[in-house]
């Protein structure tokens, strides 16, 4: 299994060298980065910590990175980790009181939803720096593309692949660690878990911060790739639900589930776009929604979960 995965990753690394058309590279980069965010979300989602506000982390990281570059001239190579760190700090500030005060279930989902909206609205409100709802573009630097992290699709393909493999490694490490068993126990029965010595707040907080960091990494890199940021597509309820959709469609209980979900989502979107064109704007969310409902009704463990059960 691990060997097969390694071979697959090598194969993916070779894809840009085979003269693959830009269009497919673009789909690949987008899918991989979305897979990163979805994998990050599922790290906590699979333990019943359902966040509807991962857009808050993505938006924070992306805008911190882009504003550092535009306003101060800090290279995104530094800006990206700083942005991700900011997102993780936000996750800490939000998660600590939530878990300390036992905000769980619906309440947790709605608190995170509010956090996502707050970040989105802040981006809009600070329009003098962020461009508001019109969005912003990182300052182009044709003379120093590497420093500005502005390179070709091939370059981003490798970066996305690297980040994706990193996300999977984090999942794998988490899955094998004691933390994963502790979180499973907490999800089962928080009081029982606490009574056998599991530090509930700390375990939840740790996975939340990691989850936020991974999701933010994928999202911010996506913004850098597109060279365009806007509050609706990086923060708020829309993007947050989209991440959740991908993770659930693919299956949030398996390592590759969210990745499969991302490919599925992007593929579906492209299919609808090519099939219907712009005439049928709205077809994508419509189909998304129906599929999301169908998945939850009939395949709550997602595509991968379903396939694994068959075996």
């Amino acid at each position: 299994m691990n060997l097969a995965l390694a071979a697959f990753v090598l194969l993916l690394a070779a894809v840009p060298l085979l003269g693959t058309p830009d269009y497919f590279l673009h789909l690949g980069v987008t899918s991989m980065l979305m897979a990163v965010s979805g994998t990050g979300w599922a790290m906590m989602g699979r333990f019943g910590l359902v966040s509807l506000g991962h857009g808050a982390f993505i938006g924070t990281a992306a805008y911190v990175m882009a504003m550092l570059w535009n306003e101060v001239g800090v290279t995104p190579w530094l800006g990206l980790p700083i942005g991700v760190a900011a997102a993780m700090l936000l996750a800490f500030l939000l998660g600590y009181p939530c878990f300390r005060l036992r905000v769980v279930g619906h309440y947790f989902a709605l608190v995170t939803l509010a956090a996502g909206e707050i970040v989105r609205l802040l981006i809009v409100a600070l329009r003098e720096h962020t461009g508001g709802s019109l969005g912003m573009t990182p300052r182009l630097a044709p003379d120093a593309p590497f420093l500005a992290m502005q390179f070709s699709k091939t370059g981003f393909w490798w970066m996305a692949l690297l980040v994706w493999v990193f996300a999977l490694l984090v999942w794998w490490w988490l899955d094998r660690s004691m933390a994963s068993r502790a979180l499973a126990a907490i999800n089962e029965d928080q009081d029982a878990a606490a009574s056998i010595g599991i530090h509930v707040t700390r375990e939840k907080l740790r996975v939340t911060i990691i989850s936020a960091g991974i999701a933010a990494l994928g999202g911010a890199l996506g913004a850098q790739y597109r060279l365009y940021l806007n509050p609706e597509s990086l923060a708020g309820i829309g993007i947050s639900l989209q991440i959740v959709f991908g993770a659930i469609a693919g299956g949030m209980y398996s390592m590759l589930g969210p990745s499969v979900g991302a490919v599925f989502t992007i593929g579906l979107e492209e299919l609808l776009r090519v099939g219907f064109g712009t005439v049928f704007i709205g077809a994508a969310p419509f189909a998304y929604g129906i599929l999301l409902v169908l998945f939850i009704l009939f395949l709550p463990r997602g595509i991968v979960g379903f396939l694994l059960r068959k075996r």
């Binding site: 036992r102 619906h106 608190v111 909206e117 707050i118 609205l121 409100a125 704007i281 969310p285 998304y288």
Partner: protein
């Protein structure tokens, strides 16, 4: 007092009235069925399109279009319950939340497919009222009164009818209800219908004030849920009061700062409330 501040306060109370109906509807459904309809604001959006379509495209008189929106969205609520929520009643609560989130996309995408992304205006406006230099939009005032009337009607329904009392009872103890001859599943359907109809009523009051477009739900959906939680999920009176509190925060926030910041303050206030009183401001 500064007439502009006074105006902001009056507008805050009027805005609270507008928030109140979806909050009551959402809370009613949550209290009974134990499911948050994440697509509640999108149900309101469908109602707004219905009124707009019937009035401007089919030339129905406005009151008839209003009268049609209530049962229409009520029916939508029943369908939502029967098709999406009911099969998931035994599933983890978060699955129900996410499934209604899927419906959010369906309704949003459906609205785009049918009506496009243009902003649609009803083109109805009542003259503003003036009182000691304080100007209040006549439309907003009328909507506010209608919202209060709707809330009063809901109160009477829950206070005086057998099914209404059963709805309040089931919110506290659903297991014991069959012993009273109450079929909980039937009460769920009734609550979903009433919750939907309240979304329909909210739609009537919003469509006279705002242009409708497929994404309008995103603009007041989140704050609706925040208010519900602040008041205590399922606590009708708490939600009603919290709606006015949020209305005042938003309108005075816009007076001192700007609209987005006022919502940022409102949401931050919400998070602070949850940290201070996890079961809502008015938890007993």
């Amino acid at each position: 007092m500064d007439p502009f501040l006074l105006e902001a306060l009056v507008n805050g109370i009027l805005l609270g009235g507008v928030f109140a109906l979806p909050v009551l509807g959402c809370n009613l459904v949550f209290g009974v069925v134990d499911v948050v309809w994440l697509c509640y604001a999108e149900l309101v959006m469908v109602g707004m399109y219905a009124v707009w379509f019937l009035h401007t495209q089919q030339a129905w008189p406005l009151y008839l279009a209003f009268a049609a929106a209530l049962p229409l969205v009520g029916l939508l609520g029943v369908l939502l319950h029967l098709i999406v929520v009911k099969p998931l009643l035994g599933a983890p609560p978060i699955n129900q939340l996410l499934a209604t989130g899927g419906v959010l996309f369906v309704l949003q995408g459906g609205a785009m497919l049918v009506f496009g992304t243009d902003f649609r205006s009803l083109g109805v406006e009542l003259p503003p009222m003036e009182w000691h230099d304080v100007f209040v939009s006549g439309t907003k005032l009328a909507a506010f009164c209608a919202a209060l009337a709707g809330a009063a009607a809901l109160w009477a329904f829950l206070k005086f009818t057998y099914i209404g009392i059963a709805i309040r009872a089931i919110a506290r103890d659903r297991e014991v209800m069959p012993l009273m001859g109450v079929d909980p599943r039937r009460v769920y359907v009734v609550a979903s219908a009433v919750g939907g109809a309240l979304a329909g009523l909210a739609a009537c009051l919003l469509v006279v004030q705002l242009d409708v477009h497929p994404f309008i739900g995103l603009s007041f959906g989140p704050i609706t849920f925040m208010i519900c939680v602040m008041g205590g999920l399922g606590n009708m009176l708490g939600g009603f009061l919290a709606a006015f509190l949020m209305g005042l925060i938003v309108s005075t926030g816009s007076f001192w700062w700007n609209t987005e910041m006022s919502y940022v303050i409102a949401f931050a206030f919400f998070i602070a409330v949850i940290f201070g009183r996890p079961r809502g401001l008015f938890a007993r």
